[in-house]
């Protein structure tokens, strides 16, 4: 639906109302909203994010978790952590949220064509990677190996589990899951996600890695890929997160050294941010 009256002052801080088409619980603290743009298609690239506004409560940056080829709606997969995400988690079909964006840099899907894709996610970090996975599966002939490695806390915390299981049944994609801890019922891997890297075959010189998870997981993963597999840091991409109030480089909150995570990132080649990970409180 359109705004009933157009605002007099339109700037990049003005949200557009999107209607909630569906809301589904994914995990105990994680849910996915399906949102309808008011004027038809919403064009974005894998890895981009939006600022989503819970009416009267506040706004948070959330990466889009749906396929870029999906036209009529977008999916946002959100973990309940604060006031805004809890308010978003109470929305029902027909309710409205405000959306600004899409913002930020995308995963390097075009640059990675003709190469192995090594997609490594940790926890909720699988959500920003899912558009890249969808894009790779929908354009399967453009990539060599497609490998998805996912680590999470417990078997109950496996995001998009049904999809990951479908991937692992396919022959044209390798998909492995590991958990930090599990009880006796779990038959899969236990341990950190980097331990899965040695179990899959890829050609390091012709691989693009896309990594999203907690910062410590991303640094350890990048180091393993560089030291254990001689991957060049420019072929390793990570996506960063910081407090954000604007998404357009004017609130100053998301600065990471010289970078604005919202406009220079959130997806960065490791060469641009790797050194900054070593500086506490940068």
């Amino acid at each position: 639906m359109e705004t009933l009256t157009e605002p007099v002052v339109i700037d990049q801080m003005t949200p557009t109302p999107f209607r909630v088409r569906s809301a589904r619980e994914e995990l105990s603290h994680t849910f996915t909203l399906e949102l309808e743009p008011p004027n038809g298609d919403f064009v974005f690239k894998p890895g981009q994010f939006v600022m989503i506004y819970a009416f009267g409560i506040g706004e948070v940056p959330i990466s889009i978790s749906s396929s870029p080829a999906r036209e009529a709606t977008i999916l946002l997969t959100i973990r309940r952590t604060g006031a805004v995400t809890h308010a978003l988690g109470r929305l029902k079909p027909g309710d409205f949220v405000g959306i600004r964006g899409p913002y930020g840099t995308p995963w390097p899907m075009e640059e990675a064509e003709g190469r192995d894709l090594l997609i490594i996610g940790g926890g909720i970090g699988l959500a920003p990677l899912r558009p890249a996975i969808y894009h790779a599966m929908e354009n399967r002939d453009k990539y060599e190996r497609v490998i998805v490695l996912y680590g999470t806390r417990t078997p109950d915390d496996i995001l998009f589990q049904a999809q990951l299981e479908r991937f692992s049944a396919r022959t044209d994609v390798t998909s492995l899951v590991t958990v930090d801890a599990a009880d006796r019922g779990w038959r899969g891997s236990v341990g950190v996600v980097t331990r899965l890297i040695g179990r899959v075959g890829f050609e390091p010189a012709n691989t693009t890695a896309m990594v999203c998870g907690p910062e410590i997981m991303m640094t350890v993963t990048a180091e393993r890929l560089m030291e254990g597999h001689s991957m060049a840091p420019e072929n390793i991409y990570v996506t960063m997160e910081r407090n954000m109030k604007c998404g357009i480089g004017v609130c100053g909150h998301c600065q990471f050294g010289p970078k604005f995570i919202c406009t220079d990132g959130a997806v960065f080649p490791y060469t641009e941010v790797g050194e900054l990970f070593d500086i506490k409180g940068v």
Binding site: T3, L4, P7, D11, M13, G56, G249
Partner: protein, 383 residues
């Protein structure tokens, strides 16, 4: 160079009046609460005639000069950003209904004339123009852009730099080179207060034409002006060596001096509030009791607060040292990566208004010298 006119103090009064008659709200320096602040002025009698300001690290005092100068001081705690980017601005407000959001109309931005803008402050406005510039045609802050365009600027060149001024180091003063409609230089010539006036834009020339008849300045008066401005450039209160400074600061992220400065820094955010270029802001949301009407308000924020970097239940920049490092490194180093220039214009406000007198020029110099410890304990410099 445009034509140089000259007048006495009555001409300055006529100029203020002419701007008001053109529909501008004229904002200029006034004395309030023992400081020079910016607020609406009605005429030349509102200007701080005969006042000067003494500034040192952590110290600010007004004193009577014993003369009739209108501009015998430098900058106070206010800067023009409080008009172009006010401490609180409603970004958006509206009502939610089953059909979506109904957006409230926003008020028209006021049409200002800024009177008495110093060269470093002109530079600060230009720095913020770059920060708020739009890459995609939609302004980041539509209100500021609209207001900036219709603001008339009367600059005043600085013939008497203050104790914490270092505009020469930052190449922003003491003479205004661009960004003004009219510029004024105050001189004493044969014992008389004289104001050398020139226009920098067509709008400025038009206003000056209305003030006619203005006399043309004599060669002698112009020479006096040029001499005073050259003297001013040679008598800065502070200097900042900017050579290789950006790399120096970026290369010293792990220097223990940051934690040493933190022993003095109160993380009070005064420096960021008085800084004419600090632009960080946050957004506050308010909801009516019945849940149908919401207001989003942008407010100034500061990288010195603990909440600034808060994410997922904890601050990313926990130590005060990390926050001070972020601030000075951003101002003097990473701002260049982001916007192509430094974020400091050399106005000295952060030095004056720091309650413990931390001096950005001294801290940059200490990093350059390799001093690992902050040994300065004395606050202020007045005997």
């Amino acid at each position: 160079m445009s034509e140089m006119f000259v007048s006495g103090q009555s001409g300055i009064g006529r100029l203020i009046q002419a701007l008001a008659e053109r529909g501008h709200r004229v904002i200029g320096p006034i004395v309030r609460n023992e400081a020079l602040v910016y607020d609406e002025i009605g005429g030349v009698e509102d200007l701080p005639r005969g006042w000067t300001d003494l500034q040192e690290p952590g110290r600010y005092r007004l004193e009577q000069r014993g003369d009739e100068k209108l501009f015998g001081y430098v900058v106070g705690p206010h800067s023009w950003k409080q008009y172009l980017n006010p401490p609180e601005t409603v970004l958006w407000s509206g009502t939610i209904s089953p059909e979506g959001f109904m957006t409230d109309p926003m008020p028209e931005p006021p049409k200002y004339a800024f009177f008495g803008v110093r060269p470093c402050e002109l530079a600060a406005m230009q720095v913020l123009d770059t920060v708020y510039g739009s890459d995609n045609g939609t302004p980041a802050m539509a209100g500021r852009s609209a207001q900036r365009e219709q603001t008339f600027i009367v600059a005043v060149n600085c013939v008497e730099p203050g104790g914490n001024c270092f505009c020469v180091s930052m190449d922003t003063g003491p003479t205004a080179n661009s960004g003004y409609d009219i510029s004024i230089t105050e001189i004493v010539h044969h014992g008389n207060m004289r104001y050398l006036i020139e226009s920098g834009t067509d709008a400025g020339a038009e206003v000056l034409a209305e003030l006619a008849p203005l006399e043309n300045a004599s060669d002698d008066e112009v020479q006096t002006r040029d001499g005073l401005l050259a003297e001013a450039a040679a008598s800065m209160g502070k200097t900042l060596d900017t050579e290789d400074l950006a790399d120096l600061l970026k290369g010293n992220a792990l220097n223990p001096r940051w934690e040493s400065i933190a022993d003095r820094c109160l993380a009070c955010a005064n420096c960021t509030l008085v800084c004419p270029t600090c632009f960080c802001n946050t957004v506050d949301d308010n909801l009516s009791l019945d849940g149908t009407h919401a207001t989003r308000t942008r407010k100034w924020d500061s990288c010195f607060t603990l909440g600034f970097s808060y994410m997922h239940g904890r601050p990313m920049r926990e130590s005060v040292g990390a926050r001070y490092r972020q601030w000075i490194t951003h101002k003097l180093a990473t701002w260049i990566d982001q916007f192509g220039e430094m974020g400091c214009v050399g106005c000295g406000r952060c030095i004056t208004w720091c309650p413990v007198g931390i001096d950005i020029t001294a801290e940059a110099e200490a990093i350059r010298r390799g001093d690992l410890r902050d040994t300065q304990v004395r606050i202020g410099g007045f005997a």
